[in-house]
Structure formats: C-alpha cells, structure tokens
C-alpha cells in the first residue's frame, strides 16, 4: 500500500431530515487517482464540500496526512494541502491569469506588510519567484493564452484548466476535481485525461468526480460509487464495471447506453 494521504472515516452529512451522505469511508494513497461516480443527487459534491470544509460533516472524521481536518474552515484545509476546483467554474474573472494562480500561491508564504510597503529586497525576489511559479503552472496545465489577459475572457476549456492550475499552485497533497471534464468535447477530454495523469506524476493525489466513463475507466486507480448518499462499492475499474449492485443501481436499464460510452 502506498503512503496514506487522505483517510475518510464514516463521514455523514444531513440537511434537515435528508441524509445527503451517510457513513462514507475510503482511503487514498499518495499519487493515487480515485474517481467518485454516482447518479445525480448521489451526494458527490456534498462529499467534496465536506472534505474541503465548506460543509461541516455531522459525523465521522476527515484525516489529511495524519491530521484531523474536519471542523476547520476551507482556507485552513487548503493550507494543509487539500485544494479543490468547482463544478461551476469559479474564477476571479477580472484578474489576469497570473493573478488567479498567484492567489493560490502566495497565501502559503507569510510576507510582512512592512516588506510590502517598503518593497524590501526579499519581498521583491519572493514576488518574482512566485510569478515564475505561476507561469510554470499555467504552462503545466497547457494554457497558451497570454498570461496577462483576464481570466473571464478565456475559453471554457481553458477556464477549467486555469482552475486546476490555481488549485495546483496551493502546493497540495490532494487535489479534488469536481467534474473537470464537464461540458468538454472529446478532444478536450483527452487533454484533461493527460493533464490528470501529469498531475499524478508530480506525486499529487487526485480525487475526482466525473460523469464521462471514458475518463473514469481510463485513468482511475480505484472508483468509489455513491448512490443515495451511501457507499455502494469501491474498487478497481474492472471490478466496478462488473459489480452487480453498481450495474443495477447506477447503470440500470436504459441508463446503460448513456453512461457506458
């Protein structure tokens, strides 16, 4: 087993009387790719929100590299090494690409306000280095647009990539990708698969929600299937593909044609 990075123990969240997710358990090791799949409303995004601190789970623990992170606010969790992207893209539209990425980067390094005001040497060299790192991440995700242009003017696919770059700039151990391939055409999806593999090669653990079975089956080490907020199955892609419960509950009936493509 690889070195354990993210350990999710019996996490549950309810809204009023509705159990959004219940008793979710899984572990992810370093450099592993775990896909979370499930029909709409299965609680995938709720799970992500519980992991990243936007919701406080009612039950269970989230342990990131041996540290319990549930109960922390999102920015604290982010600083401890878990970054995320959003299903509906949330970029800083009026900031340039570099600035978007730098928001993720510079918060990890404390700079004194005094240094900013007098523009001390260490501050300037730090700024320069941060900018170079940001440029590196932008080219890492494969955006070729002018890094000084505004994020809001990017194409849809590039906006998704920029979100990934921004999350990577926070220097994470785990990156949570919420439907990175949503709304993309097949060639763009191919690029996204390559990008996810590249992220893994950096030693970063990837947890992703995805609807495109091609993405899920191609790159996942393991797959977690959710249904009605409950964990239906977890295992290797070929196990999931042949798992009777999954076929019945998730793919079942006419859904099969649509989903397995």
């Amino acid at each position: 087993m690889r070195q354990l990075v993210l350990d999710v123990q019996n996490v549950g969240k309810r809204f009023g009387g509705l159990k959004a997710i219940d008793n979710i358990c899984f572990q992810v090791g370093k450099g592993e790719i775990l896909s979370v799949i499930g029909p709409n409303g299965a609680g995938k995004t709720t799970l992500f929100n519980c992991l990243s601190g936007f919701y406080q789970p009612d039950a269970g623990d989230v342990i990131l590299s041996g540290e319990r992170v549930n109960g922390m606010s999102p920015h604290q969790i982010c600083r401890r090494g878990m970054a995320r992207t959003f299903q509906n893209i949330r970029l800083f539209d009026h900031l340039s690409l570099v600035d978007n990425v730098l928001v993720g980067d510079t918060n990890h390094h404390s700079t004194s306000v005094w240094g900013m005001l007098i523009r001390s040497l260490s501050y300037r060299t730090f700024q320069q280095a941060a900018k170079e790192r940001a440029m590196k991440w932008i080219s890492f995700v494969g955006i070729e647009a002018d890094p000084r242009s505004k994020a809001g003017h990017l194409s849809y696919g590039n906006q998704r990539r920029l979100e990934v770059a921004r999350a990577l700039a926070t220097d994470p151990q785990v990156i949570l990708l919420d439907e990175p391939g949503a709304g993309m055409n097949p060639s763009e999806i191919g690029g996204m698969i390559e990008l996810i593999a590249k992220i893994r090669s950096q030693g970063i653990t990837v947890v992703l929600i995805e609807h495109h079975m091609k993405v899920v089956m191609d790159i996942s080490d393991r797959i977690l299937v959710l249904d009605h907020g409950e964990e239906l199955a977890i295992g290797k892609p070929e196990e999931i593909r042949n798992h009777p419960d999954v076929i019945e509950a998730y793919l079942g009936g006419s859904g099969e044609k649509r989903k397995v493509s």
Binding site: F54, H75, F86, H94, S96, V103, N107, M116, L117, R119
Partner: protein
C-alpha cells in the same frame, strides 16, 4: 439604456411630479381646528425649485456633450493618447512622485487663503475616498456609514485636547488611528462573518448611533454645540508659512503617503487577496485566503484612513459637532469613489476633486447649489452603476 429602463425612469419622474405638484405650485395649508383646507398658489416656490435645478441639468448636459465631442474628435483623441503614453512613461520614473509632490507643495507659497481652503478640503476628501476605496473598491464590501469613522477620528482628537492640555494634532494622530482600527474591527466583526450586505446597514447604523451618542453625552463631547479646538493644539506655522499653508502641506503629505501605501498594498499579495474576495468569495476561501481576516483588515484599514482625515478636518476647521457623522458626508465620499472608479486609486483622487471642486465653483454663481448637491450625487450613483459601473478612470485590470 434600454427603452424599458427609460420608460421606468420617465414613470419615476411622473410619480415624483405627481406627489410634489401640489406642493410646488400650491401651498396646502390646513386650519387645524375646523379642518378647512386652503390652497394658495405658490408659483414662486415652484420657480425657485426649477431654477435651482436648471444649472445642474445644464452643466450635466454640457459635460456630457463635451465628453461625446471629445470622444469623436480624432485629433483630440490622438493627443490624449499621446499624453497618456508619455504619462505612463514618466510614471515609471521613481522620482516622479517626489516631483509631483514638490509641484503641489509649491502651491502653498503663493495661494490665497480661499484657494488653500478648497485645496485642503479636497485633500481631506481624497484621503477619505482613498480609504473608502479599500473596502468598496478593492474588497467589494459596501460601507454606508463611513462618516462615522471620520467623526470618530475627529472626536478622538477634540476630546483629547480638551481633557489633556497640550495635546497637539499630531500627538492625537496615532491615538485616532488606533481607536479607528479598533472600532472598525468591532463594528465589522459581526457582519463580516456573514454572507451578504449586512455591513452596509450596520455601518450606517454605527454612524447614526455615533452621532446620537455624541449628542447624548454632552458633558464629554459638548453635545449638539460641539467642541472647539484650542489654538495651541492646531497646526502651528512653520518656516514663515501661515497656518493655512502648513495645514495644506501636511494634508498634501498625507495624501501622498496614502496613495503610496495603498498602491503598494493593492499590488501585493494582500491586495490580490482582497480582489479575489471581491471577485469570488467562495473560490478565494477555497484557495486558502482567510476571508474573514482579510475583510476585517481591509475594513479596519479604511477606518484608520477615515480617522486620519477626521483629525485633519478638525485641526483645519478648529471645531467639531455631531454633524460630522452625518449621512451626507458618507454619501459624498461614496459618490466620489463611484464616479472616479471602484478600485482605482487615480479614480478616487479625480472623483473627490470633481465632486468637491465643481459644486464649490458653482456656488459662486448659483448660491442655492449647495442644496442640490445630494440630488446630484444620488443621480451620479444611479447613472454610473447603470451606464459605466467601472467609473470614469476605473479599470478592473491588475498587473
């Protein structure tokens, strides 16, 4: 504007006329006991109102057509672009601010007291609108009761010099900053933790309560009649320059310092975090920006600038009453920031210059213009939001 918006604007106008018509043209007066109502034609009042409105509408239209003409005139456009480019070039020079400062400082030597008064007030409003720009422009938090912090600074100074003889304005300055930051944090904390626009109303309530508190605690604050600053605490003449010139120089220095500080902060990781919060709070939080802390910092910082402006104002006027916390001043500063451009430092400077200077010139020719000021500011706020939300100089670019 779309035609439907025009339609509603016209509807608004008709409604306003409908409700005021009897008051403009007729004076309704009641006999309290018999309940008989008399309507006396009062054309004078209607005429006075319309004639007061005329210079405003006239100057507004004039500026609009001038703007359009200049925009379409290619010769002028070329010139302005050339000037702008050379300006950009000059700005790179690190001595540029120093030279600019010296140019403005030289005004202190050969300006009359009347000009100096206007310049000092413009300077004070510049500090205020730069400070307010931190919250509403850079961080995207609406603050409605900014005058409360302005008055807070002023009263800190006024009360200190009253209680401890010998306290001068510059000794009161650090104290005013501290109190401004502390009260800013205290007022901001409850609402900055929440989503939405509570801060606007809470600051409005703060300004109003501050005014009321000052009125009620008359033993301490002088109540409605206000506090007078002793001559020894005011700005002292120096280098053979008069008091007015010295106030001007100090205010000028403060404006320059504020601009430099804000410029550096805006283009630092701190400013980037503020802008990120303005653009998308949730994403900023997810990227590790401590949103509440950053908002509090922005809000306290802007309260500090207001307090500094308050001390200068009190030292300049030599007197302070509860009206310094009035809604009017908050609106004035807000309109300056919005006209100049949200988040833009030159915009805040231009906005405060225009909105203080133009009414001041017009006052010589149309004495009633002061009453119409707020009407003008309100209109500016609505029109700017609908037509040019980024303001005159505003661009939301960074880097």
């Amino acid at each position: 504007m779309k035609t439907r918006a025009w339609g509603s604007t016209i509807l608004l106008g008709i409604l306003l006329v409908a409700i005021t018509y009897p008051f403009i043209w007729l004076k309704l007066s009641y006999e309290p006991l018999s309940g008989v109502l008399r309507a006396i034609p009062d054309f004078k009042r209607g005429f006075a109102f319309l004639s007061g409105l005329a210079p405003l509408v006239g100057s507004g239209l004039g500026i609009y057509f001038l703007f359009r003409f200049l925009k379409q005139n290619s010769f002028f456009q070329k010139k302005t672009t050339a000037v702008y480019h050379s300006y950009k070039h000059i700005r790179r020079n690190s001595f540029f601010p120093l030279i600019l400062f010296l140019v403005f400082a030289s005004l202190a030597f050969f300006s009359g007291p009347k000009t100096l008064n206007v310049l000092i007030m413009v300077g004070i409003y510049m500090i205020l609108s730069l400070g307010l720009n931190v919250t509403i422009g850079m961080t995207g938090l609406l603050v409605l009761g900014y005058a409360g912090f302005f008055a807070l600074g002023g009263y800190t100074f006024a009360i200190l010099q009253q209680k401890i003889p010998g306290v001068t304005w510059w000794m009161a300055m650090p104290m005013a900053c501290l109190i401004g930051a502390a009260v800013g944090g205290l007022v901001g904390l409850p609402c900055l933790r929440l989503k939405g626009d509570y801060l606007a109303i809470v600051t409005l309530g703060f300004a109003e309560s501050f005014r009321e508190m000052v009125r009620n605690m008359s033993g301490f604050t002088g109540g409605d009649s206000g506090l007078v600053i002793q001559a020894a605490s005011k700005v002292q003449p120096l280098f053979g320059l008069g008091v007015k010139s010295m106030v001007y120089l100090w205010v000028l220095a403060a404006v320059f310092l504020t601009v430099i500080i804000l410029h550096r902060l805006y283009y630092s990781p701190l400013g980037r975090a503020w802008t990120a919060i303005r653009e998308n709070e949730i994403a900023a939080e997810a990227m590790g920006v401590p949103v509440v802390k950053m908002k509090l910092l922005a809000f306290s910082l802007s309260a500090v600038f207001a307090a500094i402006a308050g001390v200068f104002y009190t030292a300049h006027i030599g007197f302070l009453n509860p009206e310094s916390s009035a809604f009017e001043i908050s609106v004035l500063v807000l309109a300056m920031v919005i006209l100049g451009g949200l988040g833009s430092i030159p915009g805040a400077l231009l906005g405060s210059f225009l909105l203080y200077y133009i009414p001041t010139i017009l006052r010589d020719y149309f004495p009633t213009i002061a009453d119409y000021r707020l009407l003008l500011f309100g209109t500016i706020m609505v029109i700017m939001m609908l037509v040019r939300p980024q303001g005159l100089l505003g661009s939301k670019d960074r880097v």
